[in-house]
Structures are given as structure tokens and as C-alpha cells.
């Protein structure tokens, strides 16, 4: 409160110009960004055949709920939603715990294998063996046709680890030193000294992981193609979208029935909205951790 007052009274002309420019910039930004989203929502409520004519912008022309009915009547949608929620929750918890611990280890300046371990993980970001060897590995480990393929293989990711590490390195070193003098072990320092200060970055990584888990469908298709009990929501929705992304093909009709099954753009839009909703709800919940200076400000060195 007090802080705000200080700023208000002292705002100079330059600051006022800044605020005006900033407002204009952000407003323009919001308009440009929001348009595709609104357009998608409008399409999702529009009649499918009518939408083919184009020209729908902010409001639907012929209102209908049919697209949502089509999406929600998709086979296995309930199983898919259940698995998606499960993998998002379990996947996020596991990834957060392991990445945080790894980040803690590599952010310890006294640690003897620090740079080697960092390098080991950084390399993983830029190399991969490709689809086939990975598939063969998972098959031999018994991970195909199972739920665990969603959460175990991608659990630790170098990107998330590095984001956390950078944040942890920015914390005052004095905290750790004083805890060590008090006789705290590494796990205690990690769990009760460092972690509470890392809420903003944990929230960030949790968001990244949760969104990644929620949105991914390729693994469901690749590893659990025939195991429909492990299907995910995104995979079910992707089946609706895929007819347009068809690669290649030939100039000759396979059959009239097959070609007629192109998914209308409106159903694609409805599927997109269904996908976005849960994630939009998640965001404000995590957003409270992104408030300036919430954590460090209270810690005096």
C-alpha cells in the first residue's frame, strides 16, 4: 500500500508517457492475440456447412451446439478424459519432484560433479535416437500398452531442470551456509529451505509440465494404439483433426466413403475449445505465484 502511494505521487511526465504507451501497446497486443481465440470460439458455435463459406469473425452466423455434441459424442471420450487427468496429475507431481531435486543437485556450487552432470543433461536436449529405436526400447521395457509410458520416460527434462537451476542459483548463498552450520543435511536444505523459496519457479515448471501432459497425444497413438483403455482426451480429439493434416496421398479415390469423412472446420474449433478450457482454468490458480517479490522480499540476508 505504502509503496503504491510513493509511486503515484512521484510519477513524472516521462512516467506518464510510459504508462500511456504501455497501455496502448498491451491493448493492441490483447486485441491481436485474442482475435484468433474469439474466432475459434465463434466458429465452434457455428453451423458446419455454413462455415465453409468463410467470413465468420467474432460472432457465429448460424448458431448451433451440434459441434460440441459431435466432439463429446466421440467414442472413448470419458476414458480419455480420465486418463488425461490422471497422467497430468501424476506426471506433474513426479516431474516436479524429480526435476527440482536434480536442479538442487546441479545448483550446489560446492558439488564435485556439478558441471559434468549439467553437461550430461544439456546434451539430452539436442540429441535423440529417433522414433523407431525409442519405440523398440519402450517395447522391451514393457512400457508399451501401458499407462506408465506417459509419465516415466519424459519425467526429467533438461529444459525444466535448467529453468529451476537458474532460479535456485539466484537465491542468496547465505541461506544454505547458515543451515549447514545448524547441521542440516542436503535433503533438509532442499526440502525446507530452498523449496519454499522456489514457489514461483515450481509453479512455472508445473504449468509447463501439466500443459505438456495435457496436450500430448502422439505418445498415446504411438505406444497405445490398440489399447483403447489407455487412450487420452487429446488423442480422441486428434482423431477428429487428423483428416486435414493428411500427408501425401494420391490423386485417385480410395473410396467415396473415405474421402467424404473430412472433419468440418467447426468441429475442429469445438475440439480446440474443449482442449483449452481446463488449462485456462488452471492458469489463474498458478498465477498468484507470479507476484513480484513475494518470496525473496521477506528474506533478509
Amino acid at each position: 500500500m505504502k509503496r503504491k502511494k510513493v509511486w503515484k505521487t512521484k510519477s513524472s511526465v516521462a512516467d506518464k508517457i510510459f504508462v500511456v504507451c504501455n497501455t496502448i501497446f498491451l491493448t493492441a497486443f490483447v486485441v491481436v492475440t485474442l482475435y484468433p481465440v474469439i474466432n475459434t470460439v465463434a466458429l465452434s458455435f457455428n453451423d458446419g456447412i455454413d462455415a465453409v463459406r468463410g467470413g465468420i469473425h467474432i460472432l457465429p452466423r448460424i448458431f448451433t451446439l451440434q459441434n460440441y455434441r459431435t466432439v463429446l459424442h466421440q467414442q472413448n471420450i470419458i476414458t480419455g478424459a480420465y486418463i488425461s487427468v490422471l497422467r497430468t496429475v501424476i506426471g506433474t507431481i513426479l516431474a516436479l519432484a524429480t526435476n527440482a531435486l536434480l536442479a538442487y543437485v546441479v545448483s550446489r556450487k560446492r558439488f564435485i560433479f556439478r558441471s559434468q552432470l549439467s553437461l550430461f543433461w544439456v546434451i539430452t536436449m539436442y540429441v535423440n535416437g529417433g522414433m523407431i529405436p525409442t519405440l523398440i526400447l519402450y517395447r522391451n521395457m514393457g512400457l508399451t500398452n501401458s499407462f506408465w509410458v506417459y509419465v516415466i520416460p519424459g519425467m526429467i527434462g533438461a529444459f525444466n531442470m535448467l529453468v529451476m537451476r537458474t532460479y535456485m542459483e539466484g537465491l542468496p548463498e547465505g541461506l544454505e551456509e547458515s543451515a549447514q552450520i545448524d547441521g542440516a543435511g542436503d535433503f533438509r536444505i532442499f526440502a525446507s529451505i530452498i523449496s519454499p523459496l522456489c514457489k514461483p519457479v515450481y509453479a512455472t515448471v508445473a504449468l509447463f509440465v501439466a500443459v505438456g501432459q495435457w496436450n500430448s497425444w502422439f505418445d498415446a497413438m504411438l505406444y497405445n494404439r490398440m489399447a483403447s483403455e489407455y487412450t487420452t482426451l487429446q488423442y480422441e480429439l486428434m482423431k477428429l483433426l487428423s483428416s486435414v493434416m493428411q500427408q501425401g496421398g494420391s490423386a485417385n479415390p480410395g473410396s467415396s466413403t473415405a474421402v467424404a469423412a473430412v472433419t468440418p472446420v467447426t468441429v475442429r474449433a469445438a475440439a480446440t475449445v474443449v482442449t483449452m478450457l481446463p488449462i485456462i482454468c488452471l492458469y489463474p490458480f498458478l498465477q498468484r505465484y507470479f507476484v513480484t517479490g513475494m518470496t525473496i522480499g521477506s528474506v533478509k540476508e
Partner: protein, 552 residues
Amino acid sequence: MKNSKLQRVLAFVLLAVMVFALAGCNKGKSGDIKEYTMFIAMPGSEINDDNEVAQIIAEKIGGRVKETWLTGQSAAEAVGSIIASNDYPDFIDGGDGMMALYNEGVLVPWDEYLESGKYPNLKEMYSDKEWESFRQADGHIYWANVFQNNYGENRATTHNDEAFWIQVKVLEWAGYPEIHTLDQYFDVLTRYAAEHPTTESGVATIPYTMLCEDWRYFCIENAPEFLDGYPNDGSVIVDKSSGTPTIVDYNTTPTAKKYFAKLNEQYQAGNIDIEFATQTYDQYIAKLSTGAVLGMCDQWWNFAYTINDVFKQQGLDKQGCNYIPLGLTIEEGMENRWHTYGDTLNNSSGVAVTTDCDDPDAAFKFLNDLLDQEIHDLRFWGVKDVDYLVDENGLYYRTEEMRTKAADPAYQASHLCNYSYMPQWLGTSRDGINAMQPTEQASEFLNGLAEPLVKCFQAYGADSYPDFIGSVVEENAPWFPMYSFSNAMTTETPGGVAWTKMGEVKHEWLPKVVMSKNFEETWEQYMSAYNAVNPQDFLNEMQQELDRRAAS
């Protein structure tokens, strides 16, 4: 403290998963009905597990199929990953990846099953000679294509092929003229456009547009083949005039140059859509659906299903916006072969049984039973009195309400079950009255036509779309269609490499040729770019295959 809480949450979640996983294992099998799995390397829509017709069929023939379709991968990629996972469904249609499955040795040979005499319906699908064409290098048959195969009399009502299309209203305005050449075609289009700069609803008229996007660029690319009067061999012309069939490249013929010169002339005159080279398929369809495009060259299945629905909904069919196919040739008085009357046997892919299927005998019996007339009617017509009615002469028909219902995706998923990639027939039903599939039932077809179309059909004395084309009626050559070979080419051979590169060159240069201010110069540049990728390698391999097919 925080941590123990976290652990408790974690433990709880893990427990939930265990319970769920155990529950998943208890999926029982129902009675004597066998559940088959099938993967189809094409995008498609799944039917519900409790689909009604599937249930009826299952009770009658003791089996049902759970279909899985291609999602977000190419056919070859999907087949590659199935091979890597070593986990095959009972039935598979690998599309472009069929040869990979054959090479892997995971398909069950059909020969002894076909010869056993236990599966007469299956055997009946093709003549001995046609079956021979499915034989692979190792001497066995592993799959059967299921499409474009007529039982009895051919009942085609639509021209499910390529053509230059023209709106009915243009023909009506011009007094239903005879149109045989490109010059006449563009003449009518431009004269109409000059008098009608906009449609009734005020959209600017586009005399002619073309789609150049990705694999759909056949709309601009392969017309020279037809303009010279040859059938749809797809990638090449087969010239029989010298006695021995010879491969000819339609990209470099004088006709090709004339055709592109014509397009260039029309583009410079402002009669061709300026966005033709960059539009996407969605934009193309959106454009057509305004009714403002007077003509284009396209395959019926590429636009008609969507466009006809839109026209009907918007009332544009009453304004004469529907398209009529024309069998154009480069010169007046030539024969044309735009329409394929015979069966098109694409032997490069089809339905196969895999070695993971634990009871191949039952699987083949299932395929065989799907071709029983009763089951076939259930698959394509649906349930009697629910999806179709039968009049006193035994003719099947649908009410308007039934037609609408049959087109509803939700109803299709919950009720109809045509197993669209399983063996099936076109043509006339075994009862001699009806068509095998409703789309080919003449009475159904005529009932659906709008008034301007009916007038046009009468003016030209046509009963069906193919009548407008007037293609030569003849039996398909034994090598037809050659595209079944070029489709299966890979970059392992120089011909396959050339084939891919030719496609790349044409994608880039054909629009340039049409848009060029100096046609002759650009055409020369195109030709030198084209010849630089060794098209002869491709043509040589096609010739070899042609010789092989002609000899067998």
C-alpha cells in the same frame, strides 16, 4: 512437513492408478462373438463400440471389427511404427505402407484359402486374371483391394473422376451449347463472366480457379493426359498406337504446352483467380461454396460432397450453381477417356490378414461372410424399414428424413456400420433390382437433383453425369492403372528419386508458367529445370512395369 503431505498425495494417486489398472484387466469377452482388430492407414471415423448394425452383423456371422484409423502420421510412418512395436492387429490395410508389411513377412498368404473353395464370396470378388495381378514377387497373394469393383451391371450415376466442370447456370445462359475444346470452354466462361460480374448475392464472379496445394495439385497438373484422349493412368500416358504399348510423358507433350499457354493467356486476361497458386484446400472449398466460381478442373470426390451440401443449404442449387462435367479434348472431334467405365483395380494396397491373427480360418470366413448379400445390404443400406423402405417391386428407397439421418455423423457412429475398408461391391445387387450401394441407386440419385440440373440433364438428353462426358466405352487395358505402380515407388530406385523431384519441380514451375509475362521464356526455363531431374529414369522404370503387366 510439506514433503510428507506431498508423499501422501502421491501414494493416494498411485493407489488410484493401481485400482484402475486392475479394473482394466477384467474386460471380459462376450459369448461366441469374435472381436477382430483392424488398422487402416487412412484417416476415418470410428464407429461406437455399441454400434447397432455392427451388433446385428456380429450376431449373424459371429464376428465384429474394432477399426483404428490413421491419426497425425503418414501411412508409411504409421506402418513403420507398427512394425517397430511388433504388435499387429488381425486385419490391416497399410495403404502406402503395404509393401513394408509384405517385406516384413507378417501377412498371411491368401492362396490356399482362396483355392480351398470354402470362401466362395471372397473368391468371386475377382477373376482369376485379376487375382493374378495381386500376386507378389514371392508368388503369393497377400491382400485384395476392395474398391471400384462392380457386381453385375455398372450403376455409376456420378462421374467419380476428373473433368473440367462448369456451372449449370452458365450452360443454361449460353443455351446448352456443345463444348468440346479448351477454347470453347474458356470462351463460354468469359462471355458469361463479362455479362455477370457478380453473383446474385453480390460476390465477384471468378471465371476459373485451380488448386495447386500439395498432393491435390492434380487439378492443374494432369489435364494434358486427358486432353490427348488418354485414360487416367495417373502418372503417365500409355500409347498403344504403335502396337507395343509405350510410356509417354504427358508433361512435355505439345498438348501440355498448348494447355499451359491457354491458362497463361487466360491468366493475363484476368480470367483466372489471382490466388490460384497459393490458396489452401479450405480456401478453395470456401470459394467454390459461394457459387462464384464458374469452372475448374478437379476430381468429383475432391469437391462435390462438401459443395453440394453447401449449395443445398444455401439454396444455391436452385440458382444453378451445381457443376456439370465436360469431356474436353485439345482438338475438336477427338475421342476422350475422362470417365472410367470399367473397374479400376489398384493392386498396390488392400485388406490383409496378419500373422498375429490367432485364427486365420475364422478371419477369412468373416471376410467372406461380409460379402453375403444380406450382410452387404446391412452394411450399406442399413436396417430395413428403419434406414430404407422397399416398394412393391422390391426396389429400395429412402425418405428425405432417412437420407438426412444417414448423413448425420452421430447417427453413423451409433447406428450404421459399413466396414468401409473391408471387401465390398459396387454395381447391381444379387437381386438384380437394386444397387449394391445407395449412392448408385438411380431413383435415389434423380430424387436428389435440383431443378436447374434436371433441365440441363433433359437438354443434353443425359441420364447420369457420365453421359455429359461421352467417354469411349471400352474395357480397361491389362496394365491400367499405371498409377498403382508409381504410387508405390520409393526413393531407393533412381526412378523413384526422379518421380519425387519431378513433383517438386512441377509444384514450383507450373504456377510460374501460368503467371509468367513471357510464356515462351518461362516454359523453356521450366523444361530445363524439369529435364535436370532425370525424368527418363522414372519413365524407364514405368516402361519396365508396363512391359511386365502387358506380358502377364
